[in-house]
Amino acid sequence: SAVISQKPSRDICQRGTSLTIQCQVDSQVTMMFWYRQQPGQSLTLIATANQGSEATYESGFVIDKFPISRPNLTFSTLTVSNMSPEDSSIYLCSVDRNSLNTEAFFGQGTRLTVV
């Protein structure tokens, strides 16, 4: 199984600021995924992060608000920009199951509260 580490595990941020969340995997993977889990809800895919190319965003999510970096095959960052209280969520990193030939693994998540 893969070990996925996210930092920070939680943060409280002021509205209008930005937060960068890091995701580190202990194995090389082709694709990494960023999900958002709003309070009391299920997981929604934000974007797919591919190494060497721009991230692919799902409907309702834009690069200006959620810029993503993928500098190598084991690391990715998600930035939540110009935050508002509506951005208060758990943000989760996941990896491509095909790279690991197994089920999709998740990090422990980053709990963001915007005040």
């Binding site: 995924f33 999900y35 009391g40 997981l43 797919t48 491509d96 999709a104 998740f106 990090g107 709990r111």
Partner: protein
């Protein structure tokens, strides 16, 4: 306090009873399904998976049933224990990609 599962449908069962959690999926082209368990403060944890060419798969104390005709997935937990209390999500994988689409989730509460 923990926010995961606050507004999700809740299934309450007695310890030792069997639990059945249901999920409807949307894409008939999905070829792989996963059940996840999410405990407070943690990311989703893989429980069991099933491919679309199967209709049943068993694990340790868990069974997943797939009905492709009505696009329905269920998770059965035998002899439910307090440690099974969590939010359970089904997820489907579209064969054209590797991203998962999650169902709405069900909160399981086990009464001692």
């Amino acid at each position: 306090g923990e926010s995961v599962g606050l507004h999700l449908p809740t299934l309450s069962v007695q310890e030792g009873d069997n639990s059945i959690i249901n999920c409807a999926y949307s894409n008939s082209a999905s070829d792989y399904f996963i059940w996840y368990k999410q405990e407070s403060g943690k990311g989703p944890q893989f429980i069991i998976d099933i491919r679309s060419n199967m209709d049943k798969r068993q694990g340790q104390r868990v069974t997943v049933l797939l009905n492709k005709t009505v696009k329905h997935l269920s998770l059965q937990i035998a002899a439910t224990q307090p440690g099974d209390s969590a939010v359970y999500f089904c997820a489907e994988l579209h064969n054209a990609g590797n991203m998962l689409t999650f169902g709405g989730g069900t909160r399981l509460m086990v009464k001692p």
